[in-house]
C-alpha cells in the first residue's frame, strides 16, 4: 500500500502529471485499444465539435475509435443503462455514462433490477460486464445536479462501486472495472476532474497525479492508507479524501497525528485495512459528502462497532452532509458540504 505522498513525489521521468479527466480518458483509450468489445455509450460523448461528454472525458475518442464504438445516444438514461446491460449480456464490455450522477435515478430500474440481478437470477450462467460512470458532488448547480449517490448503489447486491480520489487511482480502477465481469458503478467527483479552460469548475481543486507510463491496474477492494498516524483514523472517499488530508495536516500542527484511509472502492470494501487502523488508533471519524442518514458511513460505523468494539476508545464520529437536498446558494452549499474545519472539530472532540 503506497501512500499518496510517495506517489506524488515520484521522479518525473517515471510518470507524468495528469488530471483526473486525462487519466480516465487514458484508461478508456487503452482498454479500447486492447479489447474491441469495449464500447462507450452516452449523451454528447462523440459529437464532432462537441464536448466529449459533460466533462470532456471522451474528447477525441470518437476520432480514434469511430462512432460505432463511441456511441452518441438520445437523452435516455433508462435506455442507456438498459441497452448497455443488454449489450454486456451479449458479450460486449460497455462503458456507459450519465452526465450527472443524479440522472442515475432515471436508470435505477435497469441497474438495480436487471444489471445487478441477472447473474444471480440465471443461477450464475450470465454475466454483466458493464461500467456506468457518473459524476457526483455539489458544485453550485442546485439540488438536481449535485448529489452523492454511492450509498444507493452500495445497497444493491450485485453492483460494485468505485469512487477514486485522484488520477492514479482513477485510471487503475477504471481499467480494472472494464475488465471485471460484474456491473460497476464508477463515481467521479466534479471538483476533482481538473477540467481546463471554459470547462473549469469554480471551486475545483488541482489534483495532478503522477501516473506512470507503463500500464497498471488497481484491484477493487484495496483501500489505501494515504497518511499514517496513531491518534485517530479518518476514512473518506472522493473529494473528502482531500478535505481529510488537509484536516490531518491542521491537526498535526496541534500535535494530533491522524491516519487517513482512502476507501477507493466501497463494494467490495477493504474492511481489514480499516479494522487494522482502528485497532491501532482506537478512534474513527468517517467523512463523506452524502447525507448523513443511510450514507455509506453508517455501514462503516456499524461494522466497525461490531468488529473493533474492544479497541475503540471513543464513539465513532461521522462528518457528513446534513439531511437536506443540496442548496444552490454558495453560502448554504459551503455549510452543506463537510469542511476541513468540521473534520478537525470532530477529531478534537474525541481527544
Amino acid at each position: 500500500m503506497s501512500s499518496m505522498n510517495e506517489m506524488v513525489s515520484r521522479p518525473e521521468k517515471e510518470g507524468r502529471k495528469i488530471t483526473l479527466v486525462e487519466a480516465l480518458r487514458e484508461a478508456l483509450q487503452e482498454e479500447m485499444r486492447r479489447d474491441e468489445r469495449v464500447i462507450l455509450l452516452g449523451e454528447d460523448i462523440g459529437v464532432s465539435g462537441g464536448f466529449g461528454g459533460a466533462f470532456t472525458v471522451t474528447l477525441g475518442l470518437a476520432e480514434e475509435f469511430g462512432h460505432h464504438r463511441v456511441i452518441d445516444t438520445p437523452i435516455t438514461e433508462a435506455g442507456i443503462a438498459g441497452v448497455a446491460t443488454g449489450a454486456a449480456l451479449g458479450g460486449l464490455r460497455p462503458v456507459a455514462d450519465v452526465q450527472y450522477g443524479d440522472f442515475l435515478f432515471l436508470a435505477m430500474d435497469q441497474l438495480a433490477n436487471h444489471a445487478a440481478k441477472l447473474r444471480y437470477m440465471s443461477g450464475g450462467k450470465l454475466r454483466v460486464p458493464l461500467v456506468m460512470r457518473a459524476p457526483v458532488g455539489a458544485t453550485t448547480r442546485g439540488a438536481q445536479h449535485a448529489q452523492s449517490l454511492e450509498a444507493f448503489f452500495m445497497h444493491v447486491p450485485g453492483l460494485k462501486v468505485a469512487c477514486p480520489s485522484n488520477p492514479y487511482d482513477a485510471k487503475g480502477l477504471l481499467k480494472t472495472a472494464i475488465r471485471l465481469d460484474d456491473p460497476v458503478i464508477f463515481f467521479e467527483h466534479k471538483l476533482l476532474y481538473g477540467s481546463k479552460g471554459s470547462r473549469k469548475e469554480a471551486g475545483g481543486i488541482e489534483v495532478f497525479g503522477t501516473v506512470p507510463q507503463e500500464e497498471y491496474l488497481i484491484p477493487f477492494g484495496e483501500a489505501k492508507v494515504v497518511r499514517s498516524g496513531q491518534a485517530v483514523t479518518l476514512v473518506a472517499n472522493l473529494l473528502m479524501v482531500h478535505r481529510a488530508m488537509q484536516a490531518a495536516k491542521n491537526l498535526a500542527a496541534a500535535g494530533i497525528e491522524a491516519e487517513v484511509i482512502d476507501v477507493r472502492t466501497l463494494v467490495p470494501f477493504d474492511w481489514s485495512t480499516l479494522f487494522e487502523s482502528v485497532s491501532k488508533t482506537g478512534k474513527l471519524v468517517i467523512v463523506e459528502e452524502d447525507n448523513l442518514t443511510g450514507g455509506w458511513g453508517a455501514e462503516v460505523a456499524a461494522r466497525t462497532a461490531d468488529r473493533c468494539i474492544g479497541y475503540l476508545q471513543a464513539p465513532i464520529r461521522r462528518v457528513a452532509a446534513p439531511d437536506t437536498p443540496v442548496p444552490f446558494a454558495p453560502i448554504m452549499e459551503n455549510f452543506y458540504v463537510p469542511s476541513v474545519e468540521r473534520i478537525v472539530t470532530a477529531v478534537t472532540d474525541l481527544m
Binding site: 465539435g49 462537441g50 437523452i75 446558494a329
Partner: protein, 320 residues
C-alpha cells in the same frame, strides 16, 4: 382572432424583456457575479411569450433547465428572478433553487425541473388536479426536442391523452439537445409526429413568430379547457447562444447560425410592425428604455438583498 394593438405591444415588450434579461444575466455571469451555471434562451422569445400570453391568471407552466425566458414571459417580477440568480434570500426560491429551478407556483410557474423530461409528468399531474378540482385552468408544459426521447415524455403524454387532461405539451424544438442534433437521435421528421402514437393532435409551427405561437396556443388551450384533452405543439426555434455557460457551439455550422439570426423573433416583429406603423423607432426606444430601467432596478434589488444564512440550508425540508 384579431389581436389588439395593446396585445401585440404587450407581446413585444415581453419579448424584449426576455432578451434583455438574458443579455443582462450573461454579462453579470461573465463578471463573475452569478454562481453556478446558466442555460440561456436568446432567440426563443417568441415561443416563451406566445405561449404565456395565451394563458389565464391561474394557469400553470412547467419549465426546464433553460427557464429564464419562461419565467420572465410568465410575468414573475424580474427582481425576484435576478435575486435568485444572485443566490440571495429574496430570490424566488430563497436562494435554494438557482438558475435551473427558478419559478413561483403562486405566480403560475412551478420551480423549473432540470432533469430533462422530468417536468412532463408533473405537468400532466398538475392538470389532473385541475380536472379533479373542476378548475377552469390548464397547464402549459415546456420542454425541448431532446426531452422528447426520454421515457417520461411518452408515459406522461399517454396518460394525459387517455384521461383528456387539460395540458398543452409545448416542445421548443431548437434543433439541438446540448451538442446533439435532433435528426441524429429521432427517426421521425417532426416531434409532433409523435402525437399520433397517443391519439392526440400534434402540430408543428414557426416558433419564431410570436403571433403564430399565440394563436396556436390559444386554440390548444381552448381545447384543453373544454375537456377535449391535450395537444402536442412543436415550436421550431433556435437558441442564438451556447447550450450552457461554456459552450462555443462548434457542433453548429456558421451558416446555420447565420440563417437563424435572420429569423430572430424580435427583429422580425420590429420589421413587420415598423412597416405597418404599430411600431416607430421612438416607440422601440421608449420600450427598450423602460425595460432597461426595470432590469437595472432588478439588479440593484438583487445586489442590495441579504444573502441567506448558512444554516438556512437546514430549513424547508419538511413541513415544520
Amino acid at each position: 382572432m384579431n389581436l389588439t394593438p395593446e396585445k401585440k405591444l404587450a407581446m413585444y415588450r415581453s419579448m424584449v424583456l426576455c432578451r434583455m434579461f438574458e443579455e443582462q444575466v450573461n454579462s453579470l455571469f461573465l463578471q463573475g457575479k452569478l454562481p453556478g451555471t446558466i442555460h440561456q434562451a436568446q432567440g426563443q422569445e417568441a415561443s416563451a411569450v406566445g405561449v404565456c400570453q395565451a394563458l389565464e391568471e391561474h394557469d400553470m407552466i412547467t419549465s426546464t433547465h433553460r427557464p429564464h425566458e419562461h419565467a420572465v414571459a410568465r410575468g414573475i417580477p424580474v427582481k425576484y428572478l435576478m435575486a435568485e440568480l444572485f443566490a440571495k434570500k429574496t430570490g424566488c426560491c430563497g436562494g435554494k433553487g438557482g438558475s435551473m429551478h427558478i419559478g413561483d407556483a403562486a405566480l403560475g410557474m412551478l420551480p423549473a425541473i432540470a432533469i430533462v423530461g422530468g417536468g412532463i409528468p408533473l405537468a400532466a399531474g398538475y392538470a389532473l388536479s385541475f380536472q379533479y378540482l373542476k378548475k377552469p385552468n390548464i397547464v402549459a408544459c415546456f420542454f425541448g426536442d431532446g426531452a422528447s426521447n426520454i421515457g417520461s415524455f411518452h408515459e406522461a403524454i399517454n396518460m394525459a391523452a387517455i384521461w383528456d387532461l387539460p395540458v398543452v405539451f409545448v416542445c421548443e424544438n431548437n434543433k439541438y439537445g446540448a451538442s446533439t442534433a435532433i435528426d441524429q437521435v429521432m427517426k421521425v421528421k417532426r416531434v409532433s409526429d409523435r402525437a399520433a402514437a397517443y391519439g392526440i393532435p400534434g402540430q408543428t409551427i414557426d416558433g419564431n413568430e410570436v403571433e403564430i405561437v399565440y394563436r396556436a396556443m390559444r386554440e390548444a388551450a381552448a381545447r384543453a379547457r373544454e375537456g377535449k384533452g391535450p395537444t402536442l405543439l412543436e415550436l421550431e426555434t433556435y437558441r442564438l447562444v451556447g447550450h450552457s455557460r461554456s459552450d462555443p457551439g462548434h457542433y453548429r455550422s456558421k451558416e446555420e447560425v447565420a440563417e437563424w439570426k435572420k429569423r430572430d423573433p424580435i427583429a422580425r416583429f420590429e420589421a413587420t410592425y415598423l412597416t405597418e406603423g404599430l411600431l416607430t423607432d421612438d416607440l422601440i426606444r421608449t420600450i427598450r428604455l423602460s425595460v432597461e430601467q426595470e432590469l437595472n432596478e432588478a439588479v440593484a434589488f438583487a445586489e442590495a438583498s441579504p444573502a441567506p444564512l448558512p444554516e438556512e440550508c437546514l430549513t424547508d425540508v419538511f413541513n415544520e
